[in-house]
Symmetry: C2
Subunit: 315 residues, 2 copies
């Protein structure tokens, strides 16, 4: 029921995922709104937490919402993972309240892959779960992000950096400086390589970038905005004259692989790390393809027992 | 003496500025290193604070550095403004210590123009002067940014927004939420329009965007990194095959105006608002053109008595 293109694209993606990935997919929501499920099972839920609804109030009041019911299905072992393109805050809230926090985790964090063409993505966390953070939480984000980068992208010893305003240990706000000291002193399972800046996110210099959820969210949206702006400007120039249009017929096929690599739909969405279950937060504008990729990541993370690895890491 | 291309490009830019803008330019630095000044006066300074040097220590120890001497020249009325492409922290430190803070200003802030093609730039502040901020400082940034946008871009009633992670007043970290309350309650001279997100920076929705210096600096560098990445990817595709190269001969002239608009060298650099004098911080990689534009902005801001306007605004 969640996302700007629900339920159409979500259901279409679920059907494709079931077929292409050989995974059992259960749809959670209003059976009438869902319509033809192509044979997929439906777990009925009569309520919807809207995209712009207050997350905390929504989760508290709408006990029969698709999000709350999906999280319950994971808690109760009826599903191995949940995937949502809906209200991010409500997805987090549902997962946190119904699945619960992993023992020892201070705060769950959203880990978002930033595509790096020609390389594995850079995992950014926290991408928005916690607007105000403490240094010890960021150390745990570093630990959880390392496990995640290793399990999801097969990176043996992920390079972990802190997002700051200069490479020197003395640069940053007080949160970053304190976290730097903790990470430099050594945190179990974390290969800390120091500070990076915003311009390093799209490079192959680092595998995991840690920051508070406010900075992470502002950074991600800035990145998305800049990419979209440049894409629109370039394609705008390409159709501005008949000659340009002709010339672009040669160039567009050369740019398409890049566009696909940078498309968030290609990357299977973000993961909520630190809850007792696999919870995938897909982009609000998720297409069927985005849902297929999200289900693929969910399946992989369940099979690789990500949650158990995280549990061990923070224990 | 400051900047990656000093002194060559800086001196060349100063000469061009003197000629094109009919402004008296004084070069501050080591006369031997500067070489031929094309007739411009030199204020000798025997020391240089290096780009990667600790700013506070540099300003404290190197009393005969070009930065400290330039700030003194403004303080003593020997110059109307200073322009530097050198160490940003040391430029700020020199200006703050030698020119002093405007009465009533809690903290000076760096105001950086973000180019918006087809519109006036978005002024982002603080872009890095203060990594940790208090709500009241951000309110002053809003006041100073409004004056600056009005004086520099002729915007009658600049729209001021807070950089956050959602438009709602309840979204953000505690600093942003407290600042939102203060601005929503009304701050003299500030036309507050609410929160914006990172993706809104490149649009015409807002004229001044306020944030702490950590967030501002991370955001700016993320933006720069994303733009550079996309530019390199597009130009890379354009030269990847002979056919593409031919096609790009049609497209490049169509993209050049955009590239010029987005080039930081076109925008005259950032201003340090809140010190008792005009202090322009130009990009570290400033070319002669960047220096010409920086001198132009310096001249305009002196002629428009920006510092007096700021003094009145915070009084």
């Amino acid at each position: 029921m969640g996302g700007d293109r629900a339920p159409g694209e979500i259901v279409a993606g679920a059907c494709r995922a079931a077929e292409e990935l050989d995974v059992d997919v259960v749809l959670v929501g209003d059976p009438k709104a869902i319509g033809d499920t192509g044979g997929l099972a439906v777990l009925p839920a009569s309520e919807v937490i809207a995209m712009d609804e207050d997350p905390a109030a929504g989760v508290r009041r709408k006990k029969d919402s698709s999000l709350v019911r999906a999280a319950e299905a994971v808690r109760d072992g009826k599903a191995s993972a949940m995937v949502s393109a809906g209200n991010t805050g409500a997805t987090m809230g549902s997962a946190l309240l119904r699945m619960g926090r992993l023992k020892g985790v201070n705060r769950p964090a959203i880990a978002t892959p930033i595509p790096v063409p020609g390389s594995t993505p850079t995992v950014l966390l926290d991408a928005g779960a916690n607007a105000d953070c403490q240094p010890q939480w960021l150390v745990q984000f570093a630990q959880m992000g390392s496990i995640y980068a290793a399990e999801r992208y097969g990176i043996e010893k992920p390079r972990v950096a802190l997002l700051s305003i200069g490479e020197e240990a003395t640069k940053g706000n007080s949160l970053v400086k304190e976290t730097h000291d903790l990470l430099a002193a050594g945190a179990p399972g974390v290969h800390f390589v120091g500070n990076v800046e915003g311009r390093d996110l799209l490079t192959d210099q680092v595998d995991v970038v840690v920051c508070d959820g406010f900075t992470g969210n502002v950074t991600l949206k800035t990145l998305e905005g800049a990419m979209r702006f440049m894409r629109d400007a370039v394609f705008g120039a390409m159709v501005s004259t008949p000659e340009a249009q002709q010339a672009s017929e040669v160039l567009i096929p050369l740019l398409l692989p890049l566009a696909t690599e940078l498309d968030p739909d290609s990357h299977g969405g973000a993961l909520l790390l630190g809850v007792d279950g696999v919870c995938i937060i897909s982009h609000g504008s998720s297409s069927a393809t985005a849902i297929v990729n999200a289900v693929r990541v969910a399946r992989d993370m369940v099979e690789q027992q990500l949650v158990d690895r995280l549990r061990e890491a923070v224990a």
